[in-house]
């Protein structure tokens, strides 16, 4: 068999394992930090890893139909496929395991990233749980909110670098020697504010709202389903972080830089969330259509007039 196929399969596996490990441990850190701020001891950082392993080993007793079977599969598909299109480690002209990095671009990723939520939403819908339906309705509504500043930010940097591909943006930052966050600061602020919504931490945790909705869309999923969803969630958090690091912070050339950058970035929604109560859905949407959108528009105008 051709050698390159094995290398690409190895690359695929290595990327997934890395994303999974980092994502799961970040989840643990968040639990620990939350606990410390709330003056608790909190679980160990590897607790999420144990949870996932435990859930994988559980048997599932009941189901509500084939869409429910399919939903976690769709969720993990979105996470893993998005991961394949994002450069994880890169430097001057090299990329660590390029996977499918050159086969897609940012606009494709925008759509690929909602694939999983919609698949999950369909599975949650089939269970017939009203909490799930309410959660989905809230989640999709809020998505319309934060996608607007997010797209504005992306448009601004795509105009700036004259490319829509992530590798192209990395090359641009490498060639210019600066990070995008300093070249289009307004776009970066807009993206950061949109990111608060994307990570669904408080005050934007309306779709899952543990106190009202019993964790919303996920409420009918247990055992292996939940394990797969947690895996997918961990990978997806990593995907979002690496994407923002790639397009705004010049990527990372080694693992330590990657961890430092993504972790700092991750702390923005987490620390903001811990001390915040929860918005109502319409407040959340209006929040995103207010200042973040305005800053995004200014960011686009800034690029247009300084280019």
């Amino acid at each position: 068999m051709d050698n390159s196929i094995w290398i690409s399969i190895l690359g695929f596996l290595a990327t997934v394992v890395l994303a999974f490990t980092v994502g799961v441990f970040y989840g643990g850190f968040v639990r620990k930090i939350t606990a410390r701020i709330q003056n608790r001891v909190g679980p160990p950082v590897y607790q999420n890893f144990f949870d996932i392993v435990k859930l994988y080993s559980k048997k599932t007793a009941v189901n509500h139909g084939w869409m429910q079977h399919l939903a976690p599969a769709l969720a993990i598909t979105a996470s893993v496929t998005s991961l394949m299109f994002i450069p994880i480690l890169n430097g001057q002209g090299w990329i660590w395991f390029e996977n499918l990095n050159f086969k897609g671009d940012l606009i494709f990723l925008l759509y690929m990233m909602v694939f999983g939520s919609l698949g999950m939403a369909l599975g949650a819908g089939q269970t017939g749980n009203p909490h799930s339906a309410i959660g989905v309705s809230r989640g999709l509504s809020q998505m319309v909110g934060y996608e607007i500043p997010w797209v504005l930010a992306l448009v601004a940097i795509m105009m700036q670098a004259h490319t829509t591909s992530i590798t192209g943006l990395l090359e641009y930052q490498n060639a210019n020697g600066t990070w995008m966050m300093f070249e289009s600061p307004l776009a970066f602020i807009a993206a950061l504010m949109a990111m608060l919504g994307m990570f669904h931490y408080a005050p934007f945790d309306v779709p899952f709202a543990p106190a009202e909705l019993a964790s919303g869309p996920a409420s009918e999923f247990g055992g292996k389903y939940l394990a797969l969803m947690m895996t997918s969630g961990s990978i997806f958090a990593f995907v979002k972080l690496v994407l923002i690091v790639d397009i705004f912070m010049g990527g990372a050339s080694n693992l330590i830089m990657l961890v430092v950058k993504t972790f700092l970035l991750y702390m923005v929604p987490v620390l903001y969330g811990i001390v915040s109560p929860r918005y109502r859905t319409e407040q959340s949407i209006r929040y995103f259509w207010g200042w973040p959108t305005l800053i995004g528009v200014l960011g686009v105008l800034y690029v247009v007039f300084t280019r």
Partner: protein, 614 residues
Amino acid sequence: MNSLFLIILILMGGAVLAYLAKKVNPMLSSIVSFVAIASSAVVFFLMTDRESVILHIGGFELQWGLNAYSWVFGAMVISMASLASLYSIAYMKGKDRLGYFNLNFTLSVAAMMGILFSMDWISFFIFWEIMTWSSFLIIIYNGISEGKIGIKYMIFSAIGGYSMLMAMVITKSQIDSFLIADLISNFSSMSLGLQGLIGVLFLIAFSVKSAVMPLHVWAPRAYADSPMSYTSIFSGLLSKMGVFGLGIMLISVFSKTTNGNIFIYSEVLAWLGAITGVIATFYAVIQTDAKRLLAYSSVAQLGYIVVGLAIGTKLSVMAAIFMAIMHAIFKGTLFMAVGAVERQTGTTDMTKLGALIRKMPWTFVASLMSIIALAGIPPLGGFVGKWMLYESLITSDHYFLIVMTFLSSTAAFLYSYRFLFGIFLGQEEKEFEDVKEAPAIMVVPMMLMAGSLFFFGMFPGYIFEPIAKGMEYLGMGQVDWNMTVLSNGWGDHVDTLSIINSILTVVGIAFIFLGLKNRKKTRYVTTKDIHTGGEIPTENENLTYAVDFYKPFERAIEPAMKRKMDFYYNKFGEGIETLFDFVRRIYTGNGQTYAIYVVIFLVILLIFSKQIFF
């Protein structure tokens, strides 16, 4: 015999035969209609070279022909109409006035083909009016407050028709020819004022049919209240005739204006298209009736297509025509699916329906595929069109248009989910316990169309090829395309095959791991058997979440939804009424008053005689 002539003849003859066949057997009428459309489809696809024919009728010379551009639309119309008429056989079974319905159904297909074949404005206009009338007659077929909906449609169609007629007459008086090709070649030699006038008139004519913002108000009700087998071509194909005309106008006529650039108001048209997209999407989100939801969504999708055509770069025009074809397929399928649901359950109200997924699995699969394509989620054909549209907008510096289109296409996820959830998912309802899957003759066309969405998502090149030829015919120069790789002006690209492979692999692995291993071990439970915080729901307890599904979103967008366009038209109508009321007061019917008017008129003449006569 000439194939074009033969196609029109078969369709026209089929229409009449279908009407007569009703007398023998109602079912036969639908079958005759299907056979006529399907056989003309065979003739159409067997045609090897571009033929043309000249007819002499009443001193006029009518020219018909087929070019690369109209072939794209022709292939779309005739193949989708065949599937829709096949579906119609089962859908219309047992309904009354089938002869009337099939006559108009076949006639509108004939009219659409005629529009595409027309090489001069006379036959274009004749077929355009046949299309308008036959669709009008079908709108009033159901008899649901036909007065209002039908008249609204007729008024707007009349506005469109008369503008077209006026533009044609002006064209004739200027260049002494009714040929479309002559207008294209002579347009640049006209004065700027005339170019503007003809342009605006034609744009109004075509915008009415493609439901662009201020002229869209007829569309939602007209789409929702016609029989579904017709709506699938009404929304899928008839609206594309407007797109067809807009394409000719924007690409080959306006690009030849004297001031060099693409016509100045193509920007305006693009913005109108984008605003149409946003507002119509918002309205689609708050609908509770599945048909209305799809109808508003059609208006929104046509908005994107207009944006693409109006921008006028190679990529955007390619995107627009590609999206037009995709929209025809997925919206046709969705209307068919709603029709199947309506036929099996008797309602399309999403607050009443629920959990049909286990009863109508094939309809669900077809709807799911179409909804994925509608939302533009990657593996299916809808994504290709959306991607090209965004790339063309961003590479041509339309940064705020891209945000508008993105807003509407993100909000489209809301109604997409609502549609699937409201009909197929959610709590099982007692009323619909015995619902069965629709007959095979309805399911097969739906599944074929849904399958084609997947195929064209994988190999979009099969559609790019004819579109590229059509665009070259319209004078856009060499258009590059690739079977599976999409690329934009900046050299960025997306490879559809890698995407599909990646998605299928991961879904496959995850599903085998979860689904197949778990399928036998798990037990199916009803939707009452769920996590409810410890309480066991009783038999009659209602756990459905279907009313005011997107209430928070409605609250957030409230300011944008205060006024409907209808409101302005009604105000305009009232204004006109007041004006005429005033005019009526002048004509009192009293001889004395008229005498006074004459006196006043003479006095005015006397006073101002110097200014008037000298």
